[in-house]
Symmetry: C2
Subunit: 326 residues, 2 copies
């Protein structure tokens, strides 16, 4: 079937090792999806020309013509200025700091370009095409090395004038808790981010508890990831189960704060450790149930993210559609 | 000067002991303001006729003609259904449970009527006529017997579909903290509401600390109020100062959560204990400063409420203006 003008949006999800390009219809149908190595392994700085070339290459492979491309969205793993179209800071890819993506990618691709940070894109992706497609109010948690997230109210993801609305990883869940990279103490990220989870596994093992994670943890437990902990928990490892349950408890505390401050219809939990399923979700839900007695608090649904590692690509394409008024 | 049609809104702030009626222009000029005893002292139930009569009486006293009244707003000390126009539950005045205020007061007064809960009204009042009149995003905390509040984003106070958005008193500031009336533990209200503050004063006195509050605290410290504690602190009482400082710390923790979830331009603190001034605000601000290292977090202004005990009346009138599209 021949395509009409402006029928496709491109979404670019930029990462330090790889980046992916997706071509999506407004309804979220994936016409093409390709992954590329981020061209930095030889010490060369990443240039936006590489992104432009990848978008063009993906379009050619799917026989998408230039006039069919409505817009391109680029998701950045760091803070951006969406109005100016610039990257404020790109950790691990500092050659992009201050670069005007909207101008350079837009000119290169020959279509309007838009940028958003990766947490914004993941939230928008779940809102438009994932677990939140039937709601207008959601809070998203992405539990990974750090804890990212976002808030959608009135069917749009909101970041606020300082671009900090939805930084759910910095909700204080234990005021006497461990220091966080942000300078505060006891933030959710400090407790259930990668370092917090691995640290608690290590502590239990130091206390003499046996765990299948011991043999894979490496020097100083440097090889452990939250995903490995969630897999060990699924396999019945008692130490891993205990850490996942405690993780669920602290996530639940943060959810309670989101409920009274945002009144969401839905809370979406993604990231590597969400693979633990009920082992994680049961303590989250029971904490919210026990902690939220005010009428109506417990009507907020808590579900797993649906788009997984493709959320960034979906979200970048959704960003492009939003930018064109779609 | 003769007034034109629809130039005045009436605001009714309903309380268990007294209620007040204000007549305000759209710009917030108070044309008249009267306080009435809530007619329940003789055991009779409160009727809306008494409210209608008070609005009419206040209008007559200020020679405001019926055609000059654009609308009336009624602030209720309990949860409401603003769309249906009904009171869900009115603690201490259960005879009003389920009553349709919009219909009965509207017919009685002969102008459109609107209802909101008191926390909504206080927030709207500060947004329109008080500390927040120059901003579009604010979070309000009212520190009283309980801890109420509200959130304004995009220049309107938002309560969410379940009417719980902005229940800042139930932010969890210490997950192992004391039980809260809501059924949870360690909510801000459980620690810095009346019972929490008085309980901490009592604890310090039981530990043998001398305090000017001892002589006025009554049987089981039943006579102490947060306002008395803030006045004693201002007079230099060490126990009171310590409790106010600790209160500021916990309020500061809650503010940090509001900053990452709402990105407000301004946080407004009202209620009896806010009279303690810098004794309260300094620990609040230093907690937020120490806890909010992410770029931009510390640009949120934290100020005292401006409208004091009249916030409810101002807010009810603002509600009326909003209802008429003002």
């Amino acid at each position: 079937m021949a395509r009409v003008k402006n029928q496709i949006a491109a979404g670019v999800d930029l990462g330090g090792t790889t980046f992916s390009v997706g071509l999506l219809t407004r309804e979220g149908e994936v016409v093409a999806h390709q992954q590329y190595d981020t061209p930095r392994s030889d010490g060369e700085p990443l240039s936006l020309e590489a992104i432009v070339a990848a978008v063009s290459g993906t379009m050619e492979s799917a026989t998408v013509k230039p006039h069919e491309l409505a817009a391109v969205g680029v998701g950045i793993p760091g803070p951006v200025d969406p109005e100016a179209g610039t990257i404020k800071q790109c950790p691990n890819m500092h050659e992009l700091d201050g670069v005007n993506v909207v101008e350079l990618v837009g000119e290169g691709v020959g279509a309007p370009a838009f940028i958003g940070n990766d947490a914004y894109c993941a939230t928008l992706a779940e809102l438009r095409y994932g677990a939140g497609r039937d709601v207008e109010r959601l809070v998203m948690f992405t539990l990974g090395t750090g804890v990212g997230g976002g808030i959608a109210l009135g069917d749009s993801v909101q970041r606020g004038p300082r671009q900090i609305m939805g930084e759910v990883g910095h909700i204080i869940v234990d005021p006497d808790g461990p220091p966080c990279g942000c300078g505060s103490y006891g933030c959710l990220e400090a407790i259930v981010g990668r370092d917090g989870i691995v640290g608690r596994v290590a502590l239990l093992m130091r206390e003499g508890r046996a765990s299948s994670l011991a043999e894979m943890s490496g020097e100083g437990h440097g090889l452990l990831t939250p995903k490995m902990v969630s897999e060990a928990a699924e396999a019945g490892d008692a130490v891993a189960c205990e850490v996942i349950e405690e993780t669920g408890y602290y996530v639940g505390i943060a959810l309670c704060d989101c409920i009274v401050l945002c009144d969401p219809d839905l809370i979406v939990i993604g990231g590597g450790i969400a693979a633990a399923g009920d082992l994680l979700f049961e303590p989250i839900r029971s904490t919210v149930r026990r902690r939220s007695m005010i009428s109506g608090f417990d009507t907020t649904k808590i579900v797993a993210a649906e788009l997984g590692s493709e959320a960034g690509m979906y979200g970048a394409a959704a960003l492009a559609w939003e930018g064109t008024g779609g």
